[in-house]
């Protein structure tokens, strides 16, 4: 009884019927419903009636006793704000602690804390953030954003989210439009137990560690840095041993390949200029060698700066990058390297500018290190950052000089640079001796565990490359009968080692965030 679609009328009928929808007109759907929000009576008491007074701002208040982990707030925020499929602006984490007689767990809903001193705003190179002068809401200007994602690194609460489709970040705006219209934010509307409300708080909350009035939330990143305004309240005390459910989770961070390349190439370029200056100062090098060094520096410098643009989601807007110079190290770095680039190129014609190129380049590298130090992430502390980034310029510079002169002095500087850099890593690893195995993976502990754990192969390789390229092979090259290519191999390994170090710089960084869920 083989039937085809055509001699099986029921099939044809059912397939057609499956595609038919009743239109809203046919449904008479709630046509009579008023425009007023039906939930208004439910959330009326959950939002302030008046605008904040001077010195005050709006803030989230979360009643921990009422938050029981349903996570409706996250999906309601997603639906009512029309976010992309994979985009969420709110999150729910979990705290655990206590002991046998009183085991403890607490779910924690969290979004942007609309900080009194917002890290995102302070770091933004194009002033794409503004803190509303009346409400205190930290808003993001989506059409201003260049997609550099520095705010993602600056925010200790992991709030701004990069949207790859748009090439910008977006984040919670406290539903400012809803609040302005007397409606509650999506999360407030949707919480089945009314755990989230909007309150008016003084902006100048002290928020110092150990200050009871300024307590933020245990197991959350310390509030002194950005002074988050969200208030977590509970009638029952949280146990002392409370920790995030994901406290031990190791999170390998994004590599940011364009940044890895830039932060290797630019120090290399500055090192080349320094090498050219050193060789010419000694008067030992031939003109052509010095010129090759300068040319290499210029070419690599241009490449380094050019490749950094590849990191931006909206490079076409990058010309505004100077706007944030008052507060943003990223702005400053961009401006310094913006000046350095023509300077570096002009050294080809006017070698006398080399000194300036070195000085400005070094200043730029200091800015680079400060970009990361300003995130307050331990692995990116100013000491480590300067040792690694300026150190690359020193090691490369010495390497280039050594290649030209084969001098012991140059080799020694090169080796010393490598040793200093490896010492930084050793210092990071030593933190593991100072804490328990169970200690939460925060700060250098997180970095050390990442280096010894999921990143150990690259980490080991980095050590081998540094030691062999910067120390062993240069020594071998001094021996009689050493092949002529050996110094070149040494420099290549050295460069690969620096690249690996930069890769680890990004991947092994401690990335603070609010408490999350297990796995």
């Amino acid at each position: 009884m083989v039937a085809s679609r055509d001699n099986f009328p029921l099939l044809r009928e059912l397939l057609a019927e499956q595609q038919q929808l009743a239109t809203p007109v046919a449904r008479f759907s709630a046509a009579h419903a008023s425009a007023a929000p039906a939930l208004e009576p439910v959330y009326r008491d959950l939002i302030p009636l008046t605008a904040p007074k001077p010195g005050e701002q709006f803030a989230f208040e979360v009643d921990l006793d009422a938050c029981t982990g349903c996570k409706a707030c996250v999906s309601a925020c997603h639906a009512l704000n029309g976010l992309d499929d994979t985009e969420t602006w709110r999150d729910v984490g979990l705290l655990v602690g206590g002991a046998d007689r009183a085991p403890f767990q607490q779910t924690v809903t969290t979004a942007c804390h609309h900080c009194a001193d917002p890290g995102c705003l302070n770091g933004c190179p194009v002033l794409a953030y503004e803190k509303d002068p009346v409400t205190g809401i930290v808003r993001h200007l989506d059409d201003q954003c260049i997609g550099c994602q520095y705010c993602v690194l600056k925010c200790p609460y992991d709030v701004p989210k990069y949207n790859a489709r748009l090439g910008i970040v977006r984040k919670c705006d406290l539903c400012h439009g809803r609040l302005a219209a007397g409606e509650a934010p999506a999360c407030v509307q949707a919480c089945p137990t009314h755990a989230i409300r909007i309150v008016t708080v003084p902006i100048a909350i002290p928020r110092a560690a150990g200050d009871a009035a300024g307590d933020f939330l245990p197991a959350a990143p310390a509030p002194e840095y950005t002074r988050p305004t969200t208030r977590y309240v509970s009638r029952r005390p949280l146990p002392e041993n409370v920790r995030a459910a994901d406290a031990s989770a190791l999170r390998v961070q994004p590599a940011h390949w364009p940044l890895v390349a830039t932060l290797t190439l630019v120090p290399f370029a500055v090192g080349c200029f320094a090498a050219a200056a050193a060789v010419s100062f000694h008067g030992a090098g031939e003109e052509s060698v010095i010129h090759y060094m300068t040319l290499s520096g210029a070419v690599v410098g241009v490449m380094g700066v050019a490749v950094s643009v590849g990191h931006l989601g909206q490079p076409g807007r990058a010309w505004r990058v100077f706007l944030g110079w008052r507060r943003s190290w990223l702005s400053r770095e961009a401006m310094v390297f913006g000046a350095w680039l023509p300077l570096a190129i002009s050294t080809w014609w006017w070698p006398a500018l080399a000194g300036a190129a070195i000085a400005v380049g070094a200043a730029g590298l200091v800015c680079s290190a400060m970009i990361y130090a300003d995130t307050r992430r331990a692995f990116w502390g100013a000491g480590f950052g300067l040792a690694k980034i300026l150190g690359t310029a020193v090691v490369f510079g010495a390497g280039v000089v050594w290649l030209a002169e084969m001098s012991v002095a140059a080799a020694t500087v090169m080796a010393a640079g490598v040793v200093a850099k490896l010492a930084c890593d050793a210092r990071v690893l030593r933190t593991l001796d100072e804490v328990d195995e169970d200690a939460p993976a925060v700060g250098l502990v997180a970095s050390a565990r990442l280096l010894k754990g999921p990143l150990w192969r690259v980490f080991a390789l980095r050590g081998i490359l540094g030691v062999s390229g910067g120390m062993l092979l240069p020594m071998a090259a001094r021996m009689d009968g050493a092949p002529g290519w050996l110094p070149w191999l040494a420099i290549t390994l050295l460069a690969a080692g620096e690249l690996a170090e930069r890769y680890l710089f990004f991947r092994a960084v401690d990335a603070p965030k609010m408490p999350g869920v297990v796995t």
Partner: protein
């Protein structure tokens, strides 16, 4: 702002406008401007049994473009859990089945085919088996996830049209126990409560239930209680709900029957029995009272591991509070002695007179969105409409309504889920039709399913996705339309009928289960039997007739539109209720509970006390496998085997990405496993790797695995309750082994 300022600092533009909101009308408040609806319609949610009303935002063509929780719906009052908010997302998953797929015998691959070829394969496959091995050699396993009209059509088609004898559904995994317990104790499968009882109770006793995670909207109703209630949670784990309780009774797993009998004994000793009610409306209490004298407080605390003072407080709460309600779900239902445990709860409510009054009741919180529809109209254990296959007058009555030959109705209920699988093992059942469930993931001791698959001559899977663990093993996959792509009625935990609406077009040639059953009937040659079953709404009229005169009578409901206008209607809704409703007395009918008159559905109108001696755990921990494995819901963002919830990026983000195992800190230290490290959990049946979640919220010697991960049921122990034949998922002996992630 000056042009220069705007040029330097763009406060407007195309990206800014993407997030601009506008008043949405229809009572919605502000919505994203690009998703402003032309109209809305309400559909009840298709995940759990809470039965929330979801307001679907429609474009001019009637297509869903967004949704929000319905403020006017009496169940959820404008709230929803994340699954509800994301209900539309799984429909547009890229791996939707869009054509039938037939396994090519030559290549071994499931290849797209046409509906006529698929139907021919279906008929030839199953008819061939029936010709060789008898009509009963073909079975189906269905679901609590499709609408009632589809369940009824499937049950009638399979048993009356195709001659199947043994059919069952995945409600066996979650609700069979409540079904049997109620049927025996009350005379009918009748959860007595309304959600308003959450609000009107003075003491809520949750036994084996974690509504904060499993039924967040029911928990919302608890939080709306203004009577300063005691909230007691009986659960081995310090769950989210236990954290929110006023008393957590952290008992030894599966010692609840002892606890409940001990509680009954202590209440009797305290004189807390409502003797008048017991005398007037129950039977067998004296035997029960004599039986529980053996469960002294000393024995109870010794066997349950509950502190004496905790036990005494529990006794006092039940004895002293005016309105005590008891609520249970899977912690009770999934046990080797589940039915008697559920009935021990019913017994407590009966003896203390906590039934039929506001804020009371022995209340089973149902699992799946239409488990209640399946229980009444699945045609598996009960004959359509809650009748008995075994009674000739029932068969005649149903045959008359359906206008079929009564001889086509089997004279006994068929085998249960586990017995069907055993029959496959024995070679008695050779053909299996799986509809909207995922046996290869969800059945207890799942490893066995692979062996059974090899014994099946023909396996048909009907689902939204050809990618479920079960569909991947099928010989034929039939592409089904999902929730939101069809009309029908579902019945929630509080007996409320709610309407599901078609608001999206099914992809490709996917068809509603209703349409597929109609096609199968036609292809099988029994289409004439179902001429009157034209559409879901036509079937609804048939179901009304089947319900008439039954405790679940809803013959007073005119049509779908009436249910929609009312915000859902609870059964019973017969002529009397319809009359009151018509007079405008709508409020009184919005939230109703059963047994206010003390009359039960048994032959003599009395509720009956059932009890049995507690039995030891089928697989207690021992030296080799020293831990007891508990399983359960892990997050509100995951639904069962994840075949739908895994399709939403938002829900995936809200759920654990990797399987974790909850371990007590002392146990973790003893076996040398740190937080976040991988550990292998092994039972006698299988093993899986999980990340250690070290937490004191689980007791020493016990570990917990969330059930949504496919690996978990490799481990579970296949014990079933003898009365309900529901599997005991929550007790298996396991050991923990250190291992590496890539193990």
């Amino acid at each position: 702002m000056s042009a220069l300022e705007e040029w330097l600092r763009a406060a407007t533009g195309p990206m800014t406008s993407e997030l601009v909101q506008r008043p949405g009308d229809f009572g919605l408040g502000r919505v994203p401007a690009r998703l402003k609806p032309v109209g809305t319609t309400t559909s009840v949610c298709g995940f759990c049994s809470t039965g929330c009303g979801l307001k679907v935002h429609l474009d001019a063509e009637g297509r869903a473009i967004n949704l929000s929780a319905d403020p006017a719906y009496p169940v959820n009052l404008g709230m929803a859990c994340p699954k509800g908010w994301e209900a539309l997302t799984p429909l547009s998953a890229p791996d939707r089945a869009t054509t039938p797929r037939l396994r090519n015998r030559a290549t071994g691959e499931l290849e797209p085919t046409s509906w006529p070829v698929a139907l021919e394969a279906f008929v030839n496959g199953f008819r061939g088996i029936q010709a060789r091995h008898g009509a009963a050699a073909v079975s189906f396993l269905s679901t609590g996830q499709i609408v009632t009209e589809e369940m009824a059509l499937l049950g009638a088609l399979a048993k009356f049209g195709m001659g199947m004898r043994h059919v069952d559904s995945n409600t066996r995994q979650c609700m069979a126990t409540s079904h049997v317990a109620y049927k025996q104790s009350f005379g009918f499968d009748a959860p007595p409560f309304s959600y308003r009882d959450f609000e009107e109770s003075d003491a809520l006793i949750f036994i084996g239930a974690n509504p904060c995670i499993a039924h967040p909207i029911m928990w919302q109703r608890v939080m709306m209680n203004r009577r300063n209630p005691e909230i007691v949670v009986v659960d081995p784990r310090r769950t989210e709900t236990a954290m929110a309780a006023t008393l957590h009774v952290a008992l030894r797993p599966k010692s609840d029957l002892v606890l409940l009998y001990g509680l009954a004994n202590a209440l009797i000793a305290r004189g807390a029995v409502k003797t008048e009610f017991v005398a007037a409306h129950t039977e067998n209490f004296e035997a029960f009272a004599a039986f529980v004298t053996a469960f002294t407080p000393e024995r109870t605390v010794a066997e349950t591991g509950v502190a004496r003072e905790t036990f005494e407080r529990l006794v006092a709460i039940v004895a002293e509070r005016e309105r005590v309600s008891f609520w249970w779900t899977m912690g009770v239902n999934q046990s080797h002695e589940a039915t008697r445990t559920a009935q021990a709860i019913i017994n407590l409510a009966l003896m203390t007179g906590n039934i039929g009054r506001p804020g009371t009741g022995a209340n089973s919180i149902t699992g799946q969105c239409n488990a209640m529809g399946s229980r009444l109209f699945g045609n598996a254990t009960s004959l359509l409409g809650g009748y008995d296959f075994g009674r000739v007058e029932h068969r005649a009555h149903v045959a008359r309504i359906l206008e079929i030959d009564a001889a086509s109705i089997p004279e006994a209920p068929g085998l249960a889920y586990d017995q069907i699988l055993d029959a496959i093992d024995r070679g008695e059942i050779r053909g299996l039709w799986v509809i909207a469930t995922n046996t290869a993931h969800s059945w207890v001791n799942q490893g066995r399913f692979a062996e059974l698959r090899a014994k099946l001559e023909f396996l048909v899977v009907q689902d939204l996705y050809a990618t479920t663990e079960t569909a991947r093993q099928a010989d034929l996959v039939l592409p089904a339309a999902g929730w939101g792509e069809k009309d029908g009625v579902m019945i929630n935990s509080e007996r409320r009928l709610g309407v599901v609406r078609k608001v999206a077009r099914a992809p490709g040639e996917a068809l509603s289960d209703f349409a597929i059953f109609k096609l199968v009937a036609e292809a099988w040659g029994c289409g004439d039997m179902f001429r009157a079953w034209r559409s879901p709404e036509a079937v609804f009229q048939i179901l009304k007739e089947l319900s008439r005169g039954q405790p679940c009578d809803f013959s007073g409901i005119p049509d779908y539109a009436a249910i929609e206008r009312a915000g859902g209607l609870q059964w019973p809704f017969a002529a009397a209720e319809a009359e009151a409703w018509a007079k405008g007395d709508t409020v009184a009918w919005r939230d109703r509970r059963l047994f206010a008159d003390g009359k039960f559905f048994t032959a003599n109108g009395r509720a009956r006390f059932y009890f049995d001696e507690p039995r030891p755990l089928p697989e207690p921990p021992d030296r080799e496998y020293p831990f007891l494995l508990l399983t359960g819901r892990g997050s509100s963002a995951q639904w069962h085997t994840g075949s739908r919830t895994d399709k939403s990026a938002v829900l995936r983000k809200l759920a654990p990405t990797r399987l974790y195992v909850e371990v007590h800190p002392a146990d973790a230290a003893r076996i040398g496993v740190g937080a976040g490290e991988a550990v292998r959990v092994r039972s006698r049946r299988g093993s899986c790797v999980a990340v250690a979640f070290v937490t004191p919220t689980v007791r020493r010697g016990e570990v917990f695995l969330p059930m949504h991960f496919a690996q978990v049921n490799r481990l579970t122990f296949p014990a079933v309750d003898p009365h309900s034949r529901q599997p005991a998922y929550k007790a298996a002996a396991v050991r923990l082994e250190r291992c590496h992630d890539d193990d």
